[in-house]
């Protein structure tokens, strides 16, 4: 009896292992480069100069689509343009303590340069300083830390993103429009910056527009959807949702579609990832603002290359401009996402 049970269990486990195996094969294209640090010490990819440089990229969270875009772009660009640079990636898992530990691990492996997509702008200052004391420079990408400009930084200004999105809304919203606003997590730097842009480019210039409600949906599609469902019950007429990222806006759109109140409804977001572009293409999402992950990766690697080769050791601050995506230019961005393998 017991043996039979164990046999059955083993069969079950085998099935899972097989599933995981399939899973591994299916996604090998994207995640094979995300190996541990020791793998980064191999000497393949040397250039004529013969010297190989190790660069560690510490991502904010590889569960986050933008972070994944950044990390795949960095690996892809390194392979294509900087064959002398070998990139290995560590996942910061969206937690300050994990990212600090990742910095410590990276420093102990003595790479030539670190590229950091920070989780927290204050908490990461000390680890970055510690790396500098160990002789390793850090390039910040997609967000600066509070270091008074001591480290090279590649970023897109969130207020600029908010302004671009809000200006489009200010142009399209009807007179006396009723809108709702969805924010990222409380105190989030990107969310606050974008929200300031919304105030400057929409609320301050269109005093007729009324904000019916505003709440955090924590970047999440499911929370944005549930929130919008409740708001649709409360407010008879909502003309638009202004959301600090696309995910929440797309969730809100699902709720609006289900309620059948799509007539004249417009939705705005920020990020410009594949799902948002597909939605714009389908005529659902009205506009998004892309922070160009590929361009940010490109700039960060250029700085890293300057540092490791000694070509330029000055602090470089690069602002990658935000771009508004609407139905007019969405095909160009769809193509970029296809090239990156995010749309199959």
């Amino acid at each position: 009896m017991k043996k039979a049970l164990i046999k059955r269990l083993l069969a079950g486990i085998l099935a899972v292992v097989m599933v995981m195996g399939m899973v591994g094969c299916a996604s090998s294209g994207e995640s094979s480069e995300t190996s541990n640090l020791s793998a980064g010490k191999t000497s393949e990819g040397s250039t004529s100069s013969g010297k190989t440089y190790n660069v560690v990229f510490i991502a904010k969270a590889l569960s986050d689509p933008f972070s994944t875009w950044l990390s795949t772009s960095i690996e892809k660009i390194a392979k294509e343009k900087y064959p002398n640079i070998k990139v290995s990636t560590i996942d910061g898992q969206n937690a300050v303590d994990k990212q600090i530990a990742a910095m410590e691990t990276a420093v102990s492996q003595k790479p030539d340069c670190i590229i950091l997509q920070m989780v927290d702008s204050v908490a990461m200052v000390d680890p970055v300083n510690a790396a500098r004391e160990a002789g390793i420079q850090t390039v910040m990408v997609n967000g600066a830390i509070d270091d008074n400009g001591a480290n090279s930084t590649v970023d897109s200004n969130p207020e600029e993103q908010g302004k671009l999105m809000a200006a489009k809304a200010a142009e399209l919203l009807p007179k006396n429009a009723n809108i709702v606003i969805m924010d990222g997590p409380a105190g989030n730097w990107h969310s606050n910056g974008r929200r300031a842009g919304v105030k400057a480019a929409l609320l301050d210039v269109r005093s007729d527009v009324k904000v019916l409600a505003e709440k955090e949906a924590n970047w999440n599609k499911d929370e944005g959807m549930a929130l919008m469902e409740d708001w649709l019950q409360t407010f008879p007429k909502i003309d638009a949702v202004i959301s600090m990222n696309d995910n929440m806006s797309l969730g809100a759109l699902e709720a609006v579609k289900a309620s059948g109140k799509t007539e004249g409804f417009t939705a705005y977001g920020v990020d410009g990832l594949a799902d948002a572009c597909l939605s714009i293409d389908a005529g659902e999402l009205t506009a998004s603002v892309v922070q160009d992950g590929y361009a940010q990766a490109e700039a960060a690697l250029k700085i890293a290359n300057d540092i490791v080769t000694g070509a330029n050791t000055q602090v470089q601050l690069i602002d990658v401009p935000a771009v508004l995506i609407t139905k007019d230019n969405v095909s160009e961005w769809l193509q970029k996402h296809k090239d990156n393998g995010f749309i199959k």
Binding site: L5, I6, L9, G12, I13, A15, V16, V19, M20, V23, G24, A26, S27, G29, E30, S31, L62, S63, D64, P65, S67, T68, T72, A186, A213, K215, E216, N220, K221, D222, M225, A226, L227, E229, D230, W231, Q233, T234, L250, G251, E254, K257, A258, A274, D275, L278, F342, I343
Partner: protein, 327 residues
């Protein structure tokens, strides 16, 4: 005189019995009445269906948790299993075009994770807390690995599973009722249910009386996994995408619903109806706070307070008899 006193005493004890037995239902009733008074939109049939649709995914998970908690266990992997089974369900649908097949795959993945958790809990006597936390990591990692962290878009008719309706009844609500009925039947009409209560009440005594404790525990994990698998497929349909990030912390909402509904961490206590009520209390709370446009910081505080109050009322009404009442 004496008979009058007696009659009065019986009357009081009848009221006491009603409160004792239906404490949490009364809490729900009071909440509904208050909600209806403060928000004119609340009783709109659309809003009621809206609440049912919003709670369906976590409620389905909550029934699995109820069975496990009654048996003295817990499943912390549900949220991750939701993501894994949901995303694989979406993939299978994209490959085959069959909704039925997608649901079956979701159920299968849930069952397999349940078998594995159950195996380690029974074979190695490991605490369910640890085993299912490990499963939470493994399942979440697997779904990220499979998708490369990217959502699956344009899932076509798959969204009907989450957004469609059978008549007036939203499909997720239909599944929630189905799972509720299954759970009720298991707990009240099947030997398995009696075993779950018995093991949760006293595991050694159950074993001594001839119950095959290991098999019952594994079966409980499988059922919980299957429910999570169904929930995953419904959630992805609702979100109209295969999101590997979906379902994080859903197990805690589910466990909270079960506990509010009177399921006890001491084991051996809990009902399917109670869990449904607990889930509705949570859902109505969310809904009414949003309808009232209460600021989110305040919402979190209010939710915490009301959860503690609901459980306190439930427990105090149940234990009144056994404790001396000081006047």
């Amino acid at each position: 005189m004496k008979s009058d006193e007696k009659a009065a005493a019986t009357k009081i004890s009848v009221i006491e019995t009603i409160i004792k037995k239906y404490g949490i239902y009364l809490v729900l009733l009071v909440m509904i009445i208050i909600s209806a008074i403060i928000s004119p939109n609340f009783f709109d049939s659309k809003n009621l269906l809206n609440i049912a649709r919003q709670i369906s995914v976590t409620t389905i998970i909550a029934f699995g948790q109820t069975l496990l908690i009654i048996c003295g266990m817990i499943d912390l992997s549900s949220g991750s299993v939701v993501a894994l089974s949901g995303v694989l369900g979406v993939s299978v649908y994209m490959a085959t075009g069959s909704l039925l097949f997608a649901i079956l795959v979701g159920i299968l993945i849930g069952a397999v994770t349940g078998i594995i958790s159950g195996f380690f809990v029974t074979k190695y006597k490991m605490p369910p807390f640890i085993v299912t936390m490990a499963m939470q990591l493994v399942a979440r990692g697997a779904v990220y690995l499979y998708t490369g962290g990217q959502p699956i878009y344009q899932i076509g008719d798959f969204k009907k599973l989450g957004q469609g309706s059978i008549g007036f009844m939203p499909i997720p609500v239909f599944f929630m009722i189905l799972v509720a009925v299954c759970s009720w039947v298991i707990l009240n009409r099947m030997r398995l249910g009696r075993y779950l209560y018995a093991i949760g009440g006293n595991e050694d005594a159950s074993r001594a009386s001839g119950i095959h404790v290991g098999s019952v525990k594994i079966l409980a994990f499988v059922i919980s996994g299957v429910f999570a698998g169904v929930a995953g497929v419904l959630l992805m349909g609702r979100l109209n995408a295969g999101l590997p990030q979906a379902g994080i912390n859903y197990e805690f909402d589910a466990i909270t619903a079960a506990i509010i509904g009177g399921t006890s961490f001491t084991g051996g206590i809990g009902t399917a109806a109670g869990t449904l009520v607990g889930a509705f209390i949570m859902g109505i709370l969310n809904n009414i706070l949003n309808l009232m446009n209460v600021q989110s910081y305040v919402q979190q505080i209010l939710k915490g307070v009301i959860i503690v109050a609901a459980v306190a009322i439930d427990i105090s009404t149940k234990t009144r008899k056994s404790k001396p009442v000081k006047m």
